[in-house]
Amino acid sequence: MSALLEVRDLHTHFFTRAGVVRAVEGVSFSLARGEILGLVGESGSGKSVTGFSLIGLVDPPGRIVSGSIRFDGQELVGLPQAAMRRLRGARIAMVFQDPAATLNPVLTIGQQMALAVRAHGRASEAAARDLAARTLTRVGIPDAAARLDAYPHEFSGGMRQRVAIATALLHGPELIVADEPTTALDVSIQAQILAEMKKLAKESGTALVWISHDLATVSSLADRVLVMYAGRIVESGGVSETLRAPRHPYTRGLLDSLPATARPGEKLNQIPGSTPSLLALPPGCPFAPRCPRADAACATDPPDVVTGGRLVRCHHPLAVAA
């Protein structure tokens, strides 16, 4: 099985006034067709920058410093903007957290979806509208043909996000990168969208990179999970094994931080301290200052420990519990 997406040792840095922010530092993973990958981390973990790197949308002062992103055998790092644009929207699509930012307020939904259709291929006005209506129906918008003439402000937040997802789906992309797509939505609407996404990925064989801070969402949607901390992957593996028996102390700490995993009213087993500044990371494991298992060894870069499809980057990984 050849991977659809193959990321090797990706480094994306931001060259700011205050210094170099190493937002993504040596990230590697691969993604098969039809697979859903959850990219989990807190703010500043580099999960969003990783996503933007995949779709070639890292804005200055940031840039991909080194590494390789191979999409269906084609190298994306260093690809000219024009070629990247052709790929984006057609074979790779993205969905952002704030749908209002992706939709043009002065065009009707139908107009902007038709524009998106024609940006990557010839289609008559009628054919474009028809495709738009069918795609909107697929993401669960009732009475889609009639709503093509509505403006974005006439839609609720959840509906707008569906439109954004439908626009991403127009060309039947092989890969969708979704950055916190349900974070701004209410629970009942989030559940609807998660259900639609899961169905779509299974039906169309689209691979999905789902970037989120929410472990529960990822656990109910993804096949595999990557846990990021301070720009690095600290643990990855099948979603249920990883979350049932995490091997990295950070993953353990994240799970223990969720009120849902504790008994009501009892103190949570919190991670002490706060996320480090990416400007002045000490050498070695970036999690060491907050880690209960840290010792002198953690001042050096932790090794990749690979066991049965799972990876953990730690000097003292937790034992795989029965």
Binding site: T16, R17, A18, P61
Partner: protein, 286 residues
């Protein structure tokens, strides 16, 4: 503050502009110490030296580097003393207009209701026609003199500050920290003075910088038209006006040098103001 200066330093144009402003201010303040001549001392003037070109060595025994005017005044000295007047007027008018405008704008935003409606309508009305018109009318009514001129300049300019302060205060008072202060509860005056006002200062400082330049230009315009200060206290505008009749007779320096001084000062202040605005704009800071 050190951080502010570190970023400011990156724009060399702004640094040069700031240096010009500082230099001009210093020169104006210390003018009596090194100006070759006291241009207000009529006894020291000699009509024999009138309208001499730059570089002429006059009867006073020193070189008139920028030439002399129709009364035989050394132009360099006149410009230095003129800058004093112009800066005085600009700063005084700017400071009073800022205080008055900020108070009106912030109170309107805080009190709301009819105060807001009346004050902001008046301000809008005033912003809708040229400031100089109002200043002209006021000077014509009040007569000449420093105080009268400052009143006219303030009346022409406070509206900009009021608008800016009102906009900033309206934005700030919707923020949670103001709500938190009111929810403590803290008295209204305290919320205004300790919470809203300090957070409205950055845009006011930006507008203030530019408005000082505008006040200087406005004062020069009024003086040029003969409506500003009395001829015994010549500002830059009056110097330009004095030289105006000789423009076409080949003695352009009498108007041109004060004009250059005025332009350099105003442009420099504006560049400094732009840089400060850019640095206060959170979207541009990374």
């Amino acid at each position: 503050m050190t951080n502010f200066w570190r970023i400011y330093r990156e724009n060399w144009v702004a640094v040069v502009a700031l240096a010009v402003v500082v230099l001009v201010v210093l020169a104006a303040v210390t003018a009596p110490l090194f100006a070759p001549q006291d241009p207000y001392d009529l006894a020291g003037l000699d009509l024999m030296d009138a309208r001499r070109p730059p570089g002429y060595e006059g009867s006073g025994g020193f070189v008139h580097w920028l030439g002399t005017d129709a009364q035989g005044r050394d132009l360099l000295s006149a410009i230095l003393y003129g800058l004093r007047i112009s800066l005085q007027m600009g700063l005084a008018a700017g400071a009073v207009a800022m205080t008055l405008g900020a108070a009106l704008g912030i109170l309107s935003a805080h009190l709301g209701g009819w105060v807001e409606a009346v004050v902001m309508r008046v301000v809008d009305l005033q912003l809708s026609f040229p400031a100089i018109l109002l200043a002209l009318v006021l000077v014509a009514m009040l007569g000449q003199g420093k105080t009268q001129l400052i009143i006219a300049l303030v009346a022409a300019q406070y509206a900009y500050f009021a608008r800016t302060a009102y906009g900033a205060a309206t934005a700030e008072r919707q923020k949670d920290y103001v709500e938190a202060a009111s929810a403590t509860p803290l008295p209204g005056w305290r919320v205004v003075l300790r919470h809203i006002l300090p957070n409205c200062l950055p845009p006011l400082i930006v507008v203030g910088t530019v408005q000082v330049a505008n006040a200087i230009a406005l004062e020069a315009t009024l003086s040029f038209l003969g409506l500003g200060l009395p001829p015994t206290e010549p500002s830059l505008g009056m110097l330009i006006a004095n030289g105006f009749p000789y423009m076409m007779s080949g003695r352009s320096w009498i108007s041109v040098y004060p004009g250059i001084a005025l332009i350099v000062l105003i442009v420099a202040i504006n560049i400094v103001g732009d840089q400060i605005r850019d640095q206060f704009n959170p979207r541009l800071t990374r």
